[in-house]
C-alpha cells in the first residue's frame, strides 16, 4: 500500500476514475497508516475509521452509478479541527470545546461531502489557531515528519504533518497570519491561502475574522489547485465571501507559461533575519527563474516593517471579541467555581479553566487594544498600517505579476525552543502576515533543503487580490523548475516514519 499513501491527490483521483483502485481501498490504506503512525506525529485529534470508510463506500457507489462528483471524487482528506463537522467533535485545539459536536457542517465541509471526498479525521492545531508550532494545542504538539523532535509549523501543524508524513494525501487548513503557508514551508509541502473571501468562512471557528481564510495543504501545486477549485465560491452565509468566481486554478496550473512572467523580490523580506540555508534556497529560486526566462526585479514595500506590530493588535482585538462566546451558557465546558455560582463567576471559572496561556494572553492584549482611550492609538493605527501595506502592494503589482519571498525565516525549530518567548514565536510569520493584512492570495512551495540542518525550505508567492490564478501559475512554474531537478516532489524525501 506504500504506493497509494505516497501518491499525490491527482494520482489517486486518476486511480479511482480509471477503476484501478477504489475509494475504500485508498481510504483504508491511509487509515492503516494513520493508526500505526499518528501516535508518533500526533497529526490527528480525531479519527473515526468506520465513518471514513462509510463515506468512501458511498463515493464508490456513486462512481459505480456513473456519477463523478468532482475531479477529486473519492480522494480522502484531512480537515483542520477548527472547521465544524456534524459527525465528529470539533475542538479548535481547546479544552473549552472538548467533546463538542457541532449541529452544523462548515460550508467547506459540505463542499467536501458534495465532492465525495471522505474525511479521514480532524487535525491538530494551536488552540484556536493561535501559534506557529502546535505547541499551544491543548492536546499536545504535532511532530514534523522530517524530524520528530521538531515542530511542523502552526497553527496548522496537524494538517502539514499529516500531508508531509503521508497520513493524508491532502488537507484543509486555515490561515490567519501564515497558518497554512508556514507549516507547508517547514514540512516541504505546498500550502495556499486564497484571496480573502474566495472560500467561505462559515463554520470556521473564527480567530480574527478580517484575516482568516481557509485553503489547501497538499503535496503538489496541482493538488492544491484541485482542492481550491472544490472549496471556493460564494456563500450566502458568509457576507464577506466574494460574489464572483475566481475561475479555475487547475486551468491556471495546466496553462502555466513562464513567458512574460514578471516577478518582484520584496526588498524588506530578502536580506536580514533569514537563516543562511533558507536565504540560499531563496537565491537559488531567483536564479532558476531568471535562467528560465522570467523577469525579476526588486520592489520596495516599506510598510511591511510595521506588519507584525499591526497584526498583533488587529488579531488579538478581533479574537478577544470572537472568543467571548465561550462562556459555558450554550455549549462546551462549564466549570463551577467554589462558593456562590453567579453567572459571572461561572463564566470566569470556565474561561480560566478552558483557555490556555496563549489564548489568555491574546484576549488580554485585544481587550486592552480596544479599550476606550486606547482604540485610536492601537486598533486605529493598526488599521492604518493595513491601508499602507495595501498601497505598497498595489504599487508593487503595477510593476510585477507576482512577488516572492522566503516563506519562513528559518527551517523548523525544535519543540520547546521558542515556547516561552512569544516575540520570537510571532516573528515566524513575518513574511506571511502582509498577505492577510492586505487580503491578497499567498502560497508556499518547497524550494530545497537548507544545507546546515537538512530541513525543507519554502518560497512564498504573492499575487494581487482575486488573481489567485497568477499565484498558481507562478507556483506551478517554480515547482516544475524544481521537479525537473529533483525528479519528484520534495515530500518524497521524508524519512520513513515506520522505522523512526
Amino acid at each position: 500500500m506504500t504506493d497509494i499513501t505516497s501518491s499525490t491527490a491527482a494520482e489517486l483521483a486518476t486511480l479511482i476514475q480509471t477503476k484501478k483502485a477504489s475509494s475504500v481501498e485508498i481510504t483504508t490504506a491511509f487509515l492503516d497508516r494513520m493508526e500505526s503512525l499518528n501516535a508518533k506525529t500526533n497529526s490527528y485529534l480525531h479519527i473515526d475509521r468506520s465513518n471514513a470508510l462509510e463515506q468512501a463506500q458511498r463515493a464508490d457507489q456513486q462512481l459505480a452509478a456513473g456519477k463523478a462528483s468532482s475531479p477529486l471524487h473519492g480522494v480522502p482528506i484531512a480537515v483542520k479541527d477548527n472547521l465544524t463537522t456534524t459527525d465528529a467533535p470539533t475542538t479548535s485545539g481547546s479544552k473549552i470545546l472538548e467533546g463538542w459536536i457541532p449541529p452544523y457542517d462548515a460550508t467547506v465541509v459540505t463542499k467536501l461531502r458534495q465532492a465525495a471526498m471522505p474525511i479521514l479525521g480532524k487535525t491538530n492545531l494551536d488552540e484556536f489557531a493561535m501559534g506557529s508550532s502546535t505547541e499551544f494545542s491543548a492536546y499536545g504538539p504535532s511532530k514534523n515528519p522530517w524530524d520528530l523532535d521538531r515542530i511542523p509549523g502552526g497553527s496548522g501543524g496537524g494538517s502539514s504533518s499529516a500531508v508531509s508524513g503521508h497520513l493524508a494525501p491532502i488537507a484543509i487548513g486555515s490561515d490567519t497570519g501564515g497558518s497554512i503557508r508556514y507549516p507547508a514551508a517547514v514540512t516541504g509541502s505546498v500550502g495556499a491561502k486564497p484571496t480573502y473571501g474566495a472560500v467561505s468562512r462559515y463554520g470556521l471557528i473564527a480567530l480574527a475574522s478580517s484575516l482568516d481564510q481557509i485553503g489547501p495543504v497538499a503535496n503538489t501545486v496541482l493538488d492544491a489547485a484541485l482542492l481550491q477549485d472544490v472549496i471556493s465560491g460564494h456563500d450566502p452565509h458568509d457576507s464577506t465571501s466574494l460574489p464572483n468566481s475566481l475561475g479555475s486554478m487547475v486551468t491556471a496550473v495546466q496553462a502555466a507559461d513562464i513567458k512574460g512572467l514578471k516577478v518582484g523580490v520584496v526588498k524588506q523580506l530578502s536580506s536580514d533575519g533569514f537563516q543562511l540555508g533558507v536565504k540560499a534556497c531563496f537565491d537559488d529560486t531567483v536564479a532558476k527563474l531568471v535562467k528560465a526566462g522570467a523577469e525579476v526585479v526588486e520592489v520596495d514595500c516599506p510598510s511591511f516593517e510595521y506588519a507584525v506590530a499591526a497584526y498583533y493588535l488587529i488579531l488579538p482585538a478581533e479574537a478577544s471579541s470572537n472568543l467571548a462566546k465561550f462562556d459555558s451558557v450554550r455549549f462546551g465546558l462549564r466549570s463551577m467555581p467554589e462558593g456562590n455560582p453567579t453567572i459571572e463567576r461561572v463564566m470566569a471559572a470556565t474561561r480560566e479553566k478552558g483557555f490556555g496561556p496563549e489564548v489568555k494572553r491574546r484576549i488580554i492584549l485585544g481587550t486592552y487594544a480596544l479599550s476606550s482611550g486606547y482604540y485610536d492609538a492601537y486598533y486605529g493605527s493598526a488599521q492604518k498600517v493595513r491601508t499602507l501595506i495595501q498601497q505598497d502592494l498595489a504599487a508593487a503589482f503595477e510593476k510585477v505579476d507576482v512577488l516572492i519571498t522566503p516563506t519562513a525565516p528559518t527551517t523548523a525549530f525544535k519543540i520547546g525552543e521558542k515556547v516561552d518567548d512569544p516575540l520570537a514565536m510571532y516573528l515566524n510569520d513575518i513574511a506571511t502576515i502582509p498577505a492577510n493584512l492586505a487580503g491578497i492570495p499567498g502560497m508556499s512551495v518547497p524550494n530545497g533543503i537548507a544545507s546546515e540542518d537538512g530541513l525543507p525550505s519554502g518560497v512564498q508567492i504573492l499575487a494581487p487580490a482575486m488573481q489567485d490564478d497568477q499565484m498558481y501559475r507562478a507556483a506551478s512554474i517554480i515547482e516544475s523548475l524544481y521537479h525537473a531537478e529533483w525528479g519528484a516532489p520534495l515530500i518524497s524525501r521524508v524519512p520513513n516514519l515506520e522505522v523512526l
Binding site: 465544524t84 457541532p102 449541529p103 462559515y202 471557528i205 482585538a317 462566546k325 450554550r330 459571572e344
Partner: protein, 499 residues
C-alpha cells in the same frame, strides 16, 4: 423602597429649564431575523426559532436581512433623515447570558439614517419640531426568566432560563437630539413624540407597533439646568417606559426628582433609572461610568450596507402618506371643528372614523359613535377601543338604519350591545332580539287609545294648548311598545287625535 422627595411640578418648571432626549427602539416585523433565516415570531415555544448564528455557536456568521435594511431606510425617510451612503455595523462587547455572542451587532459610528426631524402636535394644537439625530439598526437580545426568587428579578433567583427566540430580531433605534423649550409640556411632548413614532411605523407596516408587547420601547433622557444657564445639566436615562402614559409620568417624575435634588444643592448622578408604573416612580439602576467600556469596533464579519440611490428612491415611493398631512386632509374632508378633530385624533380613532365614513356613515355620526358610546363601552369593559368586537362597517350599517328611521338611537345601542356580545351582524341581532322600530300605525294607535283611556283629561289639556301634557302619554306608549317605537311619530299621532 423609599420614594425620593419631589419638588412640586409647577415650582420645578418655574425654576429650571427642562431638556429631554428620547431613544425609541422599534422592533421590525420582518419575516426573519436580522442576521439569520430564523422566524421573527412572537410567542413561539422557547428556543424554537434559533440556529447556529443567533445562538452564537462557534463558526457561525451573520448575513444581513435585506428587508430589515429596507424597513430601516423607510423609517429614516419617514423621519426626514439623510440616508447614509455607507453604514457599517460595529460590535458592542459585554458579557450577558441573553447575548449569545457576548457582543451586540449594532450600528455605532455609521448609522443608516441621520439628521432628520418630525413634527409633533400636542393636544392643545401646539406644534414642536423634534430634531432626530439618527436611526440605526441593531439586533435584539434573548429573554431571561429568573426562577425561584420572590421578585422575578435576577437578585435572589435560584436559576435563570434563557429564550433565544428574540435574539437577533431586528431593531431600529431612533435617537432625538436634545429637545429644548418644551417647558411644562416636556412630559406631554415626550409621550406624544413616542406616539407619533408608533403611528408612523404602524402606518408603514414595518413594525407591529404594539407597545404592550415591547415592539416600541422608549428610554427617556431628562436633565435640568437653572434658567439662563449655558451648561447642560447631568442627565439620567429612564428605561422600561413602555406605555405612552409611562413616558409622560416618568419624565414628569424625573423633572420633579431632579429639581428637588438640585434645589437642595445636590448633584445629579449620571445613571440609568427604571420606571415602575405601578408605584409611579423611578429607581436607580446602574451608574454610567468609565467601567462601561463596550470596546466598539467595526464588525469584521459584515460588509458595510451601501444602499443605492435607486433603491432609496424606490423605498421612498412606498412610504404611506405623512401622518400630519393625512390629518390635515381628513379634517378638511370631514369638516370637523378643531376640537372635534382633536378629540378623534387624541383618542387614536382616525382609522376607525375614516373606515366608518368609507362604509357609508356621515363623518359626524361616525365621530359620535366612536368618541361617545363605543369609547364608553370600551372604558367600561377595560379594553382599548380597537379591541371592541365591532367593525367600522358594522357601525356604519347601524347608522344607516338609524338614518332610514328603522332604528332609534336607543334601539341602536341595544344592537351594538348584541354585536359586542357576539350575537352576529347587526341584522342578525335585530332579527333575534326583535329590535325594530314599530312602524305599524295600527298598533301604535291602539296603544295610544289605551293610554288615553286611562288619562282622559290629556286630550282636553292639549286642546287648551298645553302640549307638554302629551309627554305622559308618550311615556306610557313607549313602555307598551317596549321602547321600539319612534317617539316623535307617537307624539304626532297623539296631537292628531286631539284635533
Amino acid at each position: 423602597m423609599a420614594k425620593e422627595q419631589l419638588m412640586p411640578y409647577e415650582q420645578a418648571i418655574e425654576r429650571f429649564e427642562v431638556v429631554i432626549g428620547l431613544e425609541v427602539h422599534v422592533e421590525l416585523n420582518t419575516a426573519s431575523k436580522m442576521f439569520c433565516g430564523c422566524a421573527n415570531n412572537f410567542g413561539s415555544e422557547p428556543n424554537t426559532n434559533v440556529c447556529p448564528t443567533c445562538l452564537g455557536l462557534p463558526g457561525s456568521l451573520p448575513a444581513v436581512n435585506r428587508k430589515a435594511i429596507e424597513s430601516s431606510i423607510a423609517i429614516g425617510l419617514a423621519l426626514d433623515c439623510q440616508i447614509a451612503e455607507s453604514g457599517r455595523f460595529s460590535r458592542k462587547n459585554y458579557f450577558y447570558p441573553d447575548l449569545a455572542k457576548n457582543f451586540q451587532t449594532s450600528q455605532y459610528d455609521e448609522p443608516i439614517a441621520y439628521e432628520g426631524k418630525i413634527s409633533v402636535e400636542l393636544e392643545t394644537g401646539e406644534r414642536f419640531e423634534v430634531p432626530i439625530e439618527r436611526a440605526h439598526m441593531e439586533e435584539d437580545a434573548g429573554k431571561l426568566t429568573h426562577v425561584g426568587g420572590a421578585t422575578g428579578r435576577i437578585q435572589g433567583a435560584e436559576y435563570s432560563l434563557v429564550d433565544y427566540n428574540r435574539a437577533g430580531v431586528p431593531l431600529v433605534e431612533i435617537v432625538t437630539k436634545p429637545i429644548y423649550g418644551a417647558e411644562d409640556k416636556a412630559p406631554e411632548l415626550a409621550a406624544t413624540y413616542v406616539r407619533v413614532i408608533r403611528d408612523i411605523v404602524k402606518a408603514m407596516d414595518v413594525s407591529d407597533a404594539k407597545m404592550e408587547r415591547g415592539n416600541v420601547r422608549c428610554d427617556a433622557n431628562v436633565s435640568l439646568r437653572e434658567k439662563g444657564a449655558e451648561k447642560l445639566g447631568t442627565r439620567t436615562e429612564t428605561k422600561n417606559v413602555n406605555s405612552l402614559r409611562s413616558v409622560e409620568n416618568a419624565v414628569r417624575y424625573e423633572i420633579q426628582r431632579q429639581a428637588h435634588i438640585l434645589a437642595a444643592g445636590g448633584s445629579i448622578i449620571q445613571e440609568t433609572r427604571h420606571w415602575h408604573e405601578d408605584r409611579g416612580h423611578t429607581s436607580a439602576g446602574r451608574p454610567k461610568s468609565d467601567a462601561d467600556d463596550y470596546r466598539y469596533f467595526p464588525e469584521p464579519d459584515l460588509v458595510p450596507v451601501q444602499p443605492s440611490l435607486e433603491w432609496i428612491e424606490e423605498i421612498r415611493k412606498t412610504l404611506p402618506e405623512n401622518p400630519a398631512l393625512r390629518r390635515k386632509r381628513l379634517q378638511e374632508a370631514w369638516g370637523f371643528a378643531d376640537l372635534e378633530f382633536r378629540d378623534v385624533f387624541n383618542s387614536d380613532l382616525l382609522d376607525e372614523v375614516e373606515q366608518t365614513v368609507a362604509a357609508g356613515a356621515s363623518p359626524q355620526s361616525a365621530r359620535k359613535w366612536w368618541t361617545g358610546e363605543l369609547a364608553r363601552l370600551a372604558n367600561a369593559q377595560g379594553v382599548s377601543i380597537t379591541e371592541l368586537a365591532i367593525t367600522p362597517g358594522q357601525v356604519a350599517e347601524i347608522q344607516k338604519l338609524i338614518d332610514a328611521g328603522e332604528l332609534t338611537d336607543r334601539i341602536a345601542r341595544d344592537v351594538v350591545a348584541g354585536v359586542l356580545a357576539g350575537e352576529g351582524e347587526p341584522s342578525q341581532v335585530i332579527e333575534s332580539r326583535g329590535l325594530r322600530v314599530v312602524t305599524d300605525e295600527g298598533a301604535l294607535i291602539a296603544a295610544i287609545d289605551k293610554a288615553l283611556a286611562s288619562q282622559p283629561d290629556v286630550l282636553e289639556k292639549i286642546r287648551d294648548g298645553k302640549l307638554q301634557a302629551a309627554g305622559a302619554v308618550i311615556g306610557a306608549v313607549m313602555q307598551e311598545m317596549r321602547g321600539q317605537a319612534d317617539a316623535a311619530r307617537v307624539r304626532e299621532l297623539i296631537l292628531e287625535r286631539a284635533k
